[in-house]
């Protein structure tokens, strides 16, 4: 007590430090109790040995992991070309839906129909319909590739969501910004491009990050129409080794990518909330 006073701490600071220590202690002990319970109780379950062998088999994991990583490259590839296409298409749809000129009225209708349809259908259905349907037309190589049409299905679905997020971003820019831009003699288009869009995009970066994370996971849906990406590869190992551990391996690989990305998106979101205050 006296030593804290000597360090120049106020009464309030001392009190708050005590509170913090107490909180840390409680958090640490409750976590310890939960972990202990899991470690002790789960192995006591009657089926634990079986589950351990078929889901958490170290030898199988070691054997399948390199191949799984290899297959994950395909996920990354599909993600890498879909994401920019989604950003561009999503932005275009958002702008089309907000178009004011009467000549662009058909574009507005199209934009609205587009977002309604692709947000209304489960992703897997879109993947099936486009991924099997279009190559079914008997197109010549390489135009019958499931990579192309599967990616297109993802691009269409995700653009619909991303467009709505961009639109909420445009709405979030105060109308006085548009008035200020117009009052200087800028046209509506210039005001949108130079003043409103840059702020709108910045406002929705965290939400769009979350869309990217969801996309990264949904790339696996393409496994249903052909590409041997990580989920399909894990399935191959499962049949081969009669063991589920490869699925756990695939999950680990996903988490290595998505957890940091999720944390980063949350950080951006929190920072933005702070700035707004």
């Amino acid at each position: 007590m006296s030593e804290q006073k000597a360090a120049g701490m106020t009464r309030r600071a001392i009190f708050e430090q005590k509170q913090r220590r107490r909180a840390t202690l409680i958090a640490a002990s409750s976590t310890a109790i939960v972990v202990l319970a899991l470690v002790v109780l789960i192995p006591m379950a009657p089926g634990w040995e079986k589950v351990q062998k078929s889901f958490f088999n170290g030898a199988v994991l070691a054997k399948s992991f390199p191949k799984l990583l290899e297959a994950f490259k395909i996920n990354i590839m599909i993600f890498a070309w879909s994401a920019p296409a989604i950003a561009v298409l999503g932005l275009l749809i958002a702008l089309a839906r907000d178009a004011k000129s009467p000549a662009l009225f058909p574009l507005r209708i199209f934009g609205a129909a587009f977002t309604d349809v692709f947000r209304g259908v489960p992703v897997i259905l879109t993947v099936y319909l486009i991924g099997f349907g279009i190559p079914g037309l008997g197109l010549p190589r390489p135009w019958n590739s499931p990579y192309i049409w599967g990616s297109l299905a993802l691009i269409l679905t995700y653009s619909a969501y991303v467009a709505e997020i961009f639109r909420s971003g445009i709405d979030s820019v105060h109308h006085s910004q548009r008035a200020a831009a117009l009052s200087l003699g800028l046209s509506e288009r210039q005001a949108m491009r130079d003043v409103i869009l840059p702020q709108a995009v910045r406002n929705v970066v965290p939400s769009q990050m979350n869309m990217l994370i969801a996309l990264q996971k949904d790339v696996s849906l393409l496994s249903f129409i052909g590409p041997v990406e990580i989920f399909r590869q894990a399935g191959v190992f499962k049949s081969l080794l009669a063991n589920f551990t490869p699925y756990v391996g695939a999950a680990i690989i996903f988490l290595i990518v998505t957890i940091p990305a999720t944390r980063y998106a949350d950080y951006l979101m929190a920072r933005q909330t702070r700035e707004r205050r």
């Binding site: 006085s176 910004q177 008035a179 200020a180 831009a181 009052s183 200087l184 003699g185 800028l186 702020q199």
Partner: protein, 243 residues
């Protein structure tokens, strides 16, 4: 012919008539102050002159040309008439310098390099030379408002409109912004200003107009309007405002 002439300007929002037949002459190089209670229609009138709001009836002449013709492209008119708002409305994602250069680049079609000397001179003249590279949130309210004025001036407007530009400022920052207006007046700028700063209006205006319910109730030179208001509404407003 005055630089700016308003003839029987009527502006309605739904069934509310916010500007109710306003006539106003602003001679070149003059400063006209609009005073009146909150809701009198001062801001709306300024936004109408700048064509940010279309008027329902009447004419607005700039150098004898009617700029309120509905078919007219408002862009060319707005480039000739600058407006500064109460809340600055700077673009937060751009530096002060980029704020000032955006419109001249896009509308006057000049490059950054071609504009720089001219815009730098403006920042310099208004004591902002060392603030050009700052973003709006790094500036004080008074500095932000002066940047907003510089931004409007960079379009080389013939007329400037000011809408209560000191109302959002801390009292000690009001002076630096009003000084800018005095400087502009010296340089012969034609200006219309909505304000609650009665002291400034009395000192600097060529003409003061008292607005109530969208009408010009009384207009006169400042000495007459402040010292010998003719209309009972003006007297009532001033006795409250000058207390």
């Amino acid at each position: 012919m005055a630089k700016l002439e308003l003839r029987h300007v009527i502006k309605r929002f739904g069934d509310v008539t916010v500007c109710d037949g306003i006539d106003l002459d602003v001679e070149a190089g003059q400063l006209v102050c609009l005073i009146g209670a909150s809701g009198a229609g001062k801001s709306t009138l300024l936004r109408c002159i700048n064509l940010l709001e279309p008027i329902d009836e009447g004419e607005i002449f700039l150098d004898g040309q009617d700029i309120a013709v509905p078919a007219l492209d408002p862009q060319t008119v707005r480039a000739r008439i600058g407006i500064v708002f109460q809340n600055f409305n700077l673009f937060p994602h751009m530096t002060a310098l980029e704020n000032a250069m955006l419109a001249p680049r896009r509308v006057r079609g000049l490059t950054r390099a071609a504009l720089l000397p001219e815009v730098e001179a403006l920042f310099d003249r208004f004591g902002l030379a060392d603030r050009m590279q700052n973003y709006p949130d790094q500036l004080s309210g008074g500095q932000q408002q002066r940047v907003a004025i510089v931004r409007a001036l960079a379009m080389r407007p013939e007329v400037m409109l000011f809408d209560e530009i000191t109302s959002a400022l801390d009292p000690q920052l009001v002076g630096e912004v009003l000084d800018v207006l005095l400087l502009l007046k010296q340089q012969g700028m034609t200006m219309v200003m909505a304000t609650h700063e009665m002291g400034f209006a009395r000192q600097a205006a060529n003409k003061v107009c008292f607005l109530k319910d969208g009408k010009v109730i009384e207009e006169a030179n400042p000495t007459r309007l402040f010292d010998h208001p003719q209309h009972s509404d003006t007297q009532a407003f001033l006795s409250r405002a000058l207390k």
